[in-house]
């Protein structure tokens, strides 16, 4: 039970955290200037957006639960199961960020998800 619950937290917090960070970065706007000074300015505006902090919090939560899972389960069981977060992330991107996830992209995301699981099982 605690394993299943922790898996759910890891998968959901990872996807939700990255979606929150994506929302923050879209708010910052497309980066076109890559000089060190411009990049520092980008980071400064990013940390002023609430979604960035929501994302960082969720990713910290994910890391915490991941470490807990790894302390009582094998890495070759933990990582393959969390590969599902690619699919959950694509769902979130579609419904929360309004991205258009076409059939081709869905197949691609699913293949990546299965592939990551297999690489870790193998």
């Amino acid at each position: 039970m605690r394993t299943a619950l922790s898996f759910a937290v890891v998968i959901l917090a990872n996807a939700a955290g990255e979606i929150a960070i994506t929302r923050a970065m879209k708010q910052v706007g497309e980066v076109v200037n890559f000089t060190p000074l411009a990049l520092l300015r980008v980071l400064r505006s990013a940390i002023r957006i609430r979604w960035m902090w929501v994302g960082l919090f969720l990713m910290t939560l994910q890391l915490f639960f991941m470490l807990m899972l790894l302390s009582w389960e094998n890495v070759s069981f933990v990582i393959p199961a969390t590969a599902l977060s690619y699919v959950v992330g694509a769902l979130g991107a579609k419904f929360l960020l309004g991205e258009k996830v076409s059939g081709v992209r869905w197949i691609g995301v699913s293949l990546v998800s299965i592939g990551v699981a297999l690489v870790w099982i193998g």
């Binding site: 497309e30 694509a90 309004g98 299965i114 297999l118 870790w120």
Partner: protein, 137 residues
């Protein structure tokens, strides 16, 4: 229509992500092995581990690599879809076992080869879709 410069900067960021994320992980794990196992969970032991971890150059190189990875990921997400960038960065799971196979002669099981092929095909398919499907603000 995605311009050539737009596509070029996306690919440059993805290449940096795919290399720096695993390099950072490997360096951190190598650094922590140099630091040694946590002997017990007493405060004194933990402080000692922290001090030796943060004075270890391999660990700093690892942290630096992961920072490069994270900044590149943030940058690519400022213009590309999350449902494009996340699966595309999974190429790092292909790069690490392949580098191990080619440079260190590490054996790859058939399951792992199948996984590598799946990721590769998946990333190719995702890459056939537009990098950005949302409106620019």
């Amino acid at each position: 229509m995605i311009s050539k410069t737009h596509a070029a900067k996306t690919y440059i960021m993805l290449v940096l992500i795919v290399f720096f994320a695993p390099i950072g992980d490997v360096l951190l794990s190598k650094g922590m092995k140099q630091v040694g196992e946590v002997p017990d969970w007493s405060v004194a032991a933990l402080i000692e581990i922290f001090i030796s971890a943060f004075t270890n150059s391999t660990i700093w190189l690892g942290i630096g690599s992961l920072l490069v990875f994270f900044v590149c990921y943030l940058l690519v997400l400022s213009w590309a879809d999350y449902s494009y960038a996340a699966p595309a960065s999974a190429m790092s799971y292909v790069v690490v076992p392949l580098l191990g196979y080619m440079l260190l002669g590490e054996a790859l099981t058939s399951i792992r080869w199948t996984g590598i092929i799946f990721i590769f095909l998946g990333v190719i398919l995702v890459n056939c879709t537009p990098h950005r499907t949302t409106r620019r603000s």
